[in-house]
Symmetry: C2
């Protein structure tokens, strides 16, 4: 499957993900968001709260992709160092942003203390990303979108990010559920379909292994041409039926 | 927090993670497994089913860490290319492994077809990793552990991997739940605690933002010295109480 779609990477920042304390759900949310917009997520990385590691990953990813989405590390506490690292990676200062100060002053009033002022520091040249949940903004600098780690906030920020992105050809998919046989039973049929449809991608995803319930394999056909995907799914379904395999379109 | 613990990285392989179709849960499972053994997970990456990208990530991670754990791409279908990529990254052939063939022949009998034979290909020099669920083995080559993507199988394989790993000093943690105030209210107290306890790490994790329920912040103290962690948690609790903050040890 070849596309000319914009490409993207995700950079998840936080020791709490690497220790296992917190499960990252943001990568999946961003992946689905991008897939729906025809932007190809090529890579995701999780790094800890270490400046060198954050900057190295950020510089590698922003050089290699059209867009980079970071999550985490933009709160008010001492371990929130993402803005500092992004500014340093781009080589720009990190002053207080007047609009961010105004937003936070309005929200916190007398509780707008020194710690919360840290959240108003925005790299020079960046534009703010609105936070519809707790108001403290994220920011966009070049092709990098810096968002919060709290999933509800990150999801809110994506709504403000969406109109800024070039979209591509959406990838359509069709799924056939094959029940009661493993991947190995249908692998040759699937490989043959892949060989004869180079413009599409064919994936095989087993389910139910290690459980007492139903087991089988979901076969997924993906491509930018919706009618080619539909035709390939139908061909695959017939081939499986002829081979005596129980198959259900999903 | 400085440690001399072994370090590790996770490499998740599969287009289905990057498209958002499948949620990766293996990284969190491995993270908790390693934390319990005193091995520091430093980095995780997700890459697609692209040989160049898999090999580049694998070579970067295996050079930089004591251990690398890969998940995904070792099934029988044409898109399962992890073993090929690992062999090529190490510059070794990928013949059928007699023990793997025997395991799979025993399991599949007359259904041991060409596709399933692919799962018996193991890089020269690798040792097998037992699969207690569906039997098709993973393998260890040097400091790289190649495991299945299906979570139940991956978890089973970790049990066979565990005895092969050097363990380190386990990181202990203590958590204080601060209710009804945001991170910014306790940030300065937490930063001061971090400044005076350089051997420990202090993290702040807000909860409940954007929901109608309880909100607040979990403060987590971590370190290798269990009594130092306990003392720091107690100090922090008293400081918060003196500041009029509602706090509960978890």
């Amino acid at each position: 499957m070849t596309t000319q779609n914009p490409t993207a990477a995700v950079l998840v920042i936080g020791d709490e993900i690497l220790s296992g304390r917190t499960k990252d759900t943001n990568t999946n949310t961003i992946a689905r968001f991008l897939t729906a917009m025809g932007i190809d997520l090529m890579e995701a990385r999780v790094v800890g709260d270490r400046p060198e590691q954050i900057m190295e990953a950020l510089n590698a990813l922003r050089a290699g992709h059209d867009y980079v989405f970071t999550t985490g590390g933009i709160g008010p506490t001492h371990d929130d160092i993402t803005a500092d690292c992004v500014a340093q990676a781009f080589g720009v200062p990190l002053p207080e942003h007047p609009e961010a100060v105004a937003i936070l002053e309005r929200r916190y009033g007398d509780d707008f203390n020194a710690a919360r002022r840290r959240m108003a520091r925005i790299p020079v040249g960046a534009s703010l990303i609105a936070n519809p949940v707790t108001e403290a903004p994220g920011f966009q600098l070049g092709n990098v979108f810096v968002m919060a780690g709290v999933p509800a906030i990150m999801q809110g920020m994506l709504q403000d990010v969406a109109p800024r992105l070039k979209t591509g050809a959406v990838v359509h998919s069709g799924t056939l559920k094959v029940s009661g046989v493993g991947e190995g039973t249908v692998a040759e049929i699937l490989a043959e379909a892949a060989r004869t449809n180079r413009a599409l991608s064919f994936g095989s995803y087993p389910f139910g292994a290690g459980t007492q319930g139903e087991f089988g394999t979901n076969l997924v056909v993906r491509g930018q041409d919706v009618s080619a995907v539909a035709a390939a799914v139908q061909d695959l379904q017939w081939t499986l039926i002829e081979a005596g395999v129980s198959v259900t379109p999903l």
